[in-house]
């Protein structure tokens, strides 16, 4: 057993739902107890889809157990087919139904429905959401494209003269982090290069579309989490090469353009010469000097964490002090980028471990998931979200891709925003002694009566989140930590000196000095201790 406060990934059948909901003309019949229908709200409330996910649940209860759950499954499957008339149906079990071993796949076959029934085996007690999405996509593609597979060993015929090069885009699902916008961005990019995009899957594809995946010249693997297994199978079966570069950031987008150009046998120089990203110039702009060496901690799914770490180091000039992922299947890639950037990798799906690491590293910026956003808020650190798990605010109304050159622009805006602007930083230093300018004064646009806003007040985004699910007003748990009698005391001089430090770094200076004093058994912090600590922690 494993103690979990929050989870980064849902169970594997939620991954299957992300594939089913992304596609059209496909239905998923899930053997599951009452209550598992909660997963519908992920799609209708977080992603704000205007339709229900194409999922029918058996919602069995205790009274059904041992008597006729198999019969219940068959009836549910038949009724779902009759009502929704899909091109194909996937059948499977959630965690509880897996234990009662009714074999939905076998039951599905016996019904003799007039459409293909694809059985899914998703072991809920070993695997998680991303694996479930990947396995589901793989099983569907095998089922539908597999029928058109050439004889093993058949060489792929050359593209006929005069036919444009073509590819499929693989990986985008429902409930993905910016998948909606990435697909638009990369499709545009490929079309500008003169490459036909034949099928985008699973997002927007029908089972019939999957059947013609083998027609394209190569596959673009946008999200390896969901598509790599499938792309490797297509490579073996149809001789279709696949991309290995995920185009997040300017450098990766350039590399991606070169990679697809090589696969398509075309010249990419026109596209590379007309590069549309503002990131390179903004990053070289003189006001960005203050970004140099900002300490950044990166955490997310494997693909986004690796990409964000490289972009942070190479395109923003940050110091990446830690990088990690909750998805063990990407541990190797994450460890490699950690080594490349000279920091330690953190491979864990325990939210409390991530919190401990961030608290220990004290970065100036966190690039993480919604979970890290909450950690960062508690610790008073800026944060930008770079990866699933998602939240209603990860579905902005405007187009906001992560990939391609426009995606790089979006990264620039969203990562720099949480940091204090450089010029403001200078002004703060210049005016730090000004009577109007101290931490109790509050923002000038609130007028004199306004007191300094609490750090812990919930942001509008949190209110939006609560509103989305009707949760009660935020309140914070009482902390168990009591005043420790061994805490060092501040001498009046040192306390005065501390107040001269700009308020936005004063908390950090206080903590560092106290840590320094504690570690050395200093009972009273003097001005000397303060500056000893400052020198100690100076980079």
């Amino acid at each position: 057993m494993k103690l979990a406060v929050w989870t980064y990934e849902g169970p594997p059948h939620v991954g299957a739902m992300r594939v089913a909901t992304a596609m059209r003309e496909l239905h998923y019949v899930l053997h599951a107890p009452q209550g598992d229908t909660y997963a519908d709200l992920l799609f209708t409330m977080i992603e704000r889809l205007p339709h229900r996910p194409p999922v029918t649940y058996t919602t069995f209860q205790a009274r059904d157990l041992g008597s006729d759950t198999a019969e219940l499954f068959k009836r549910t499957l038949r009724e779902a087919h009759d009502r929704f008339q899909p091109q194909a149906i996937m059948v499977g079990a959630s965690c509880t139904a897996e234990l009662i071993q009714d074999d939905p796949g076998g039951l599905g076959r016996t019904l003799g429905l007039p459409v293909p029934v694809v059985p899914l085996e998703l072991p809920s007690y070993q695997r998680k959401e991303n694996w479930g999405a990947s396995e589901t996509f793989y099983q569907l593609v095998r089922a539908f494209a597999g029928a058109n597979a050439p004889e093993t060993g058949t060489a792929r015929p050359a593209r006929p003269d005069g036919q444009k090069p073509s590819c499929n885009i693989l990986g985008p699902t429902a409930l993905g982090f910016r998948h909606r916008d990435d697909v638009v961005e990369i499709t545009d990019l490929l079309e500008r290069l003169g490459i036909d995009v034949r099928v985008v899957a699973p997002r927007g594809a029908t089972p019939a579309d999957l059947a013609r995946l083998g027609d394209a010249d190569f596959n673009v693997v946008l999200y390896p989490e969901t598509a790599e297994t499938t792309a490797r199978w297509l490579e073996r079966t149809f001789g279709q090469p696949r991309t290995t570069t995920v185009p997040i950031g300017v450098g990766a987008t350039r590399a991606f353009i070169n990679e697809v150009a090589a696969l398509a046998g075309i010249d990419p120089s026109a596209e590379l010469d007309s590069e549309r990203s503002r990131l390179p110039w903004y990053s070289r702009s003189i006001d960005s000097t203050y970004l140099t060496g900002k300490r950044v901690f990166v955490f997310g799914d494997g693909t986004h964490a690796v990409a964000a770490a490289r972009v942070a180091a190479n395109e923003f000039g940050f110091d990446v002090v830690g990088v990690g992922t909750y998805d063990r299947t990407f541990a190797r890639e994450v460890r490699a980028v950690a080594e490349e950037l000279g920091c330690e990798a953190l491979i864990t799906d325990d939210y409390l471990d991530v919190e401990d690491r961030i608290a220990e590293l004290r970065p100036e910026l966190v690039l993480g998931t919604q979970m890290e956003r909450h950690i960062a808020k508690r610790l008073g650190i800026g944060c930008a979200v770079i990866s699933a798990p998602v939240h209603v605010q990860d579905y902005p109304a405007r187009r906001s891709p992560q990939m391609g050159f426009e995606g790089a622009n979006v990264l620039w805006d969203t990562w720099v925003h949480p940091l204090m602007m450089g010029l403001e930083e200078h002004l703060l230093a210049m005016f730090r002694g000004d009577f109007e300018f101290h931490d109790a004064a509050g923002a000038s646009h609130h007028g004199a009566s306004h007191q300094s806003p609490s750090r812990q007040s919930a942001s509008p985004a949190d209110h939006a989140q609560q509103a989305a699910v009707g949760a009660p007003a935020p309140s914070f748990e009482p902390t168990a930590a009591a005043n420790d009698l061994s805490e060092p005391a501040w001498s009046p001089d040192a306390d005065q000196e501390l107040k001269k430090i700009p308020f936005f770094v004063r908390g950090k200076a206080r903590r560092n000095t106290e840590t320094f004093a504690r570690e050395r058994g200093v009972a009273t912090i003097t001005v000397e201790t303060l500056y000893d600590a400052k020198a100690h922690f100076a980079r």
Binding site: M1, K2, L3, A4, V5, W6, T7, E9, G10, P11, V14, P33, Q34, G35, D36, T37, Y38, D40, L41, M45, I46, L49, H51, R52, T56, Y57, T59, F60, Q61, A62, L65, R75, T76, E79, R83, C95, T96, L99, I100, S124, Y125, Q126, K128, Q370, M371, H374, R378, A458, Q465, Q466, A468, V469, G470, A471, P472, P474, S475, F476, E477, A480
Partner: protein, 428 residues
Amino acid sequence: MSAVRQSSALPSAGCDDLPVLRERGQREVFCGLTGIIWLHRKIQDAFFLIVGSRTCAHLMQSAAGVMIFAEPRFATAIIEDRDLAGLADANDELDKVVDRLLKRRPDIKLLFLVGSCPSEVIKLDLSRSAERLGRQYGPHVRILNYSGSGIETTFTQGEDNCLAAMVPELPAATPGEPGLMVVGTLADVVEDQLRRLLQGLGVPEPTFLPARNAADLPPVGPDTRFLLAQPYLAETARLLEERGAQRLAAPFPLGAEGTTRWLKAAADAFGVSPERFHEVTDRPHQRATEAVSRYRDALEGRSIFFFPDSQLEIPLARFLSEELGMRPLEVGTPYLHRGIMDPEIALLPAGTDLSEGQDVDRQLDRCRAATPDLVVCGLGLANPLEAEGIATKWSIELVFTPVQGYEQAADLANLFARPFDRRTRLEV
């Protein structure tokens, strides 16, 4: 059609001819684990440890959207493959998890081990675990267990099971000393208002189950009368009756009239004079009636359709028809306990269709055919219905928001008026 239209087989006081549509099909409702979201806010030194799967943990954070809590007082002990394969002893594993948890949270006085679908299917006996752990960590930490599983409970029934697990722990009341207990989780502000009203009536000092602290267990015995503040507490009521307490039958304290009737049940049981009753209730009753009437224009004559969710549907339909002139079309409830609900059903307008259980696709068909002005439904259905042009109200807000009592009657009316207000404003 597997559904049958039949009269209730449950014993009840009158109205036996009431037709109830019984449905058995896909249920679009939460399981009982979801009750932890409000129970852990109410009992401030209790921790809820779900023994379940990754799905349970995912449900809790998705349904609650409460990741803003620093470290919530609930968590999941996720059963893994090695627990199922017998490679690890599930009891030893649970002990380790509880040990880690209680070391981390020394402020916890009451720990609930909460059963889930998988823990019940593998027949993990959490009552024995609770006993064993209770010997180890008691008396500082009391350890109880209940089931919040979807195979046993629908949404609010999780609270019923939680309170039912507390009933055997309640101390015996002093014989001959009359007592009044209010049963069901209420927001603190509502609890305080109702306490002041009951104190004003001069009935015995009311106690509340659950109380805000684990140690404040209300006493119970043959001289205890109790009022249900929530309609979904059939099992808790049964166990209280087994300990000799008597339930005071009453409508629920929703709306000005519901609150008055609820208080009247207590007043009559303890022989409060009509003068005293009027003296205490007239002013707040009038205040509530006036405040509610401000929403009458927005709601009068509008039709409303309830999907089953919290078992609050029937009392809400009664409030909306009686005090605001709305027209309930179908009122769905996950479970209909006639003994508890009869006083409410008697107040519904003639021609209201009642349904129990659910077959969601068929109910959606009926809903579209009925073309209601407002649909009360869960989060999985609301946006899809809105996209079809049907106004909805999220039922979950009705259990997370303080809605009981005189002072909240207008807030409750406003929850139903707001969807209409919004539609009037929008020009996009």
